[in-house]
């Protein structure tokens, strides 16, 4: 059990810098997910924590030890790889017990630990198979079992679910969460899938181009994104962004449409400021098919270009202020292309970003 601390950690490959001095404090038994588009440095960060990549600058602390120069084997961590990295020449039992065998533990102790892990992950009946004879989901479980047998301080997961099909992925996601509740170790988990991040994490770390964009609980990053990148990366469909200018407590969008400045942002904007209005599809709904909006809201007509029925709701693509935006329709009815509908916009859940810095104005 241990905290993990990153202090201005830098990674360079020659002249190319891929991680730009990031700071991160991970609490004991916390589940932290690093999420971001490919190439954002999340995997590199994880591999630096693991000790698989040397650190070009800064400091990594696991527990109370600075581990910068420690090889992986001295960090008391375990890792689940994207392609599982199971040892193909060993049986499942040998795979699970390998780390303990290397540590020269007694055979009895190894057997107990392996049986226990196999029990937790329901692998008992496959113990004598080779990885080649297992299905994708079973291999995934062996990889997780190999990680838990040695009771490490920290678990590292590198996109562990990306090779599974959609159904299995959802299932394994739940298993990982249950596993965390059972073993209560610190977990650092890397993924590019924001749904995985939202569902698993105690805290999410959103990264882009080697920088941390925001750290927060799933609800924090969803409800109060600090910039337009986080706003569009977290949540599905992505948040609609509309450029405008502040004029007398209202945001003037293109084509003469104005929206009142949301209450929460009043104090932070000045007249004439260029801003970006952020609206999620969940807060832009046709009248009569919307959530009840108790706070301030605006309303206007839009023409629907396309509709995608999803069952409980329908996703609408419509034009607002010259931009295509996505809106949601609850209790859906069939909508034809070209149909004009009146939409309600929930102002209490709108966001304002500065047009230059693209940072939140709250």
């Amino acid at each position: 059990m241990a905290q993990v601390t990153l202090r201005t950690v830098v990674k360079k490959y020659g002249a190319l810098q891929v991680v730009h001095g990031i700071d991160l404090d991970i609490d004991d038994s916390e589940f932290v997910v690093l999420v971001g588009p490919s190439g954002c440095g999340k995997s590199t960060t994880l591999r630096m924590i693991a000790g698989l990549e040397p650190i070009s600058g800064g400091e990594i602390v696991i527990g109370d030890r600075v581990v910068n120069d420690l090889p992986p084997r001295h960090r008391n961590i375990s890792m689940v790889f994207q392609n599982y990295a199971l040892y193909p020449h060993m049986t499942v039992r040998e795979n699970l017990g390998f780390s303990l065998k290397i540590a020269k533990r007694a055979q009895g102790e190894i057997d107990r630990a392996v049986d226990e892990a196999a029990e937790i992950l329901s692998l008992t009946e496959y113990l004598d198979r080779k990885p080649g004879a297992l299905s994708g989901g079973q291999r995934q479980r062996v990889a997780m079992g190999r990680a838990i047998v040695r009771h490490p301080d920290v678990f590292l997961f590198d996109e562990p679910l990306s090779n599974l099909d959609a159904k299995l992925r959802t299932q394994m996601r739940t298993e990982i969460k249950k596993l965390h509740q059972k073993v209560k170790s610190t977990i650092v988990y890397v993924t590019h899938d924001q749904v995985e991040a939202m569902t698993l994490a105690d805290r999410i770390v959103i990264m882009r181009d080697g920088h941390i964009e925001q750290i927060g609980t799933p609800l924090e990053v969803f409800e109060a994104p600090t910039n337009t990148f986080v706003a569009t990366f977290i949540g599905s469909p992505p948040m609609n962004l509309l450029e405008g200018r502040v004029a007398q407590d209202a945001v003037a969008l293109a084509n003469g449409i104005t929206v009142p400045v949301p209450e929460a942002f009043r104090a932070h904007v000045t007249d004439g400021q260029e801003v970006i209005l952020g609206v999620r599809a969940d807060n832009l709904m046709p009248v009569g098919h919307a959530m009840p909006m108790e706070g301030a809201h605006a309303a206007f007509d839009m023409t629907v270009n396309l509709s995608e029925p999803l069952g409980t709701e329908t996703l609408l693509f419509a034009t607002l202020a010259g931009e295509e935006v996505q809106a949601k329709m609850l209790n859906p009815r069939p909508v034809a292309s070209g149909e004009q509908l009146r939409f309600q916009l929930d102002l209490t859940r709108c966001h304002l970003f500065d047009a230059q810095s693209r940072q939140s104005l709250r």
């Binding site: 693991a50 000790g51 698989l52 090889p71 992986p72 084997r73 961590i77 375990s78 890792m79 790889f81 994207q82 392609n83 990295a85 199971l86 040892y87 193909p88 020449h89 390998f98 780390s99 290397i102 540590a103 190999r146 040695r150």
Partner: protein, 288 residues
């Protein structure tokens, strides 16, 4: 309807033609070897008979008996050559595999400047024709007293085999995902343990086939051995084969028997590794 029948007829005759071509090709491949094997069992009189005897009248083990006999046929110490060949081939193979494994691993796992150039440079040392290399080697070995010794020839065969061994082993290690070694390191292995406990066992079959390839090269080599060995102390079988020829006569039967003795180990070993051998060559070569 007629059209369909025509098509079928054409397809069938094409198939027949293919089978015939295949049969001829395979016969051409097999015949010379079988001819040698057959003649190793025939008495010299029958081999030399004019007009030729097509259906063997008598098959016996005379040539083998003579070969393994005390002095050997015409005094050719075949067993001595066999032992020399075995010692030299096995030792040089083991060393070449160790050296090649280190080198192949370096090419498979590390990125460094001039990698491609170094690789081709290593390969080019193999392109030097044996006879052109044997002249200066002969001088060097004569000076250092390594001529006509096992060590001299072993050293030469190690260097002959290293480039190709590196090529093959590079290919095999490249098929082993890097994550395996990383997982092993996280499981508590040192780099060295990770190699021997995980990467090496996974690539073992490939390394073995590279070894057998090296063994065959040493076992079959002639151009260098013929110059660097002088006496029964170090002569290998390919060189020994020449003992059966004199200025005007050739002991065909005896030669055939020795040839069979040379081929059998080679045959067995090649059958063992044929699958891996092709995989190693093409993987190393094609996937960059």
């Amino acid at each position: 309807m007629n059209d369909a029948r025509l098509h079928r007829l054409r397809a069938r005759s094409l198939k027949l033609l293919q089978l015939a071509a295949l049969f001829i090709a395979m016969s051409i491949i097999c015949l010379p070897g079988l001819w040698v094997v057959l003649n190793s069992f025939r008495p010299t009189v029958e081999i030399m008979a004019k007009p030729p005897v097509w259906i063997p009248q008598e098959l016996n083990l005379d040539h083998y008996r003579a070969m393994f006999g005390d002095l050997g046929e015409g005094g050719v110490p075949v067993m001595r050559y066999f032992t020399n060949s075995l010692i030299i081939s096995v030792t040089s193979t083991v060393i070449a595999i160790l050296v090649g494994m280190a080198g192949g691993y370096a090419f498979a796992r590390y990125q460094f400047k001039g990698k491609a150039a170094i690789f081709i440079g290593l390969m080019l040392t193999r392109a030097v024709p044996g006879v052109a290399l044997s002249l200066p080697l002969f001088i060097v070995m004569a000076r250092t007293g390594l001529i006509d010794t096992h060590i001299g020839l072993i050293l030469v065969y190690v260097s002959l085999n290293v480039p190709f061994t590196i090529w093959l082993i590079d290919g095999f290690f490249r098929q082993v995902p890097v994550e395996l070694a990383e997982a092993a390191e996280i499981d508590g292995c040192t780099r060295w343990q990770a190699f021997w406990k995980v990467e090496f066992p996974v690539a073992r079959a490939g390394v073995a086939s590279a070894g057998i390839f090296a063994f065959l090269t040493s076992w079959n080599e002639y151009a260098l051995a013929s110059q660097l060995t002088r006496s029964t102390f170090s002569k290998t079988m390919p060189v020994g084969l020449r003992d059966f020829t004199s200025e005007f006569t050739i002991n065909w039967g005896g030669m055939c028997a020795l040839a069979v003795l040379m081929i059998i180990p080679a045959l067995i070993l090649t059958f063992l590794v044929q699958k891996h051998l092709i995989a190693g060559l093409t993987f190393g070569g094609v996937k960059g």
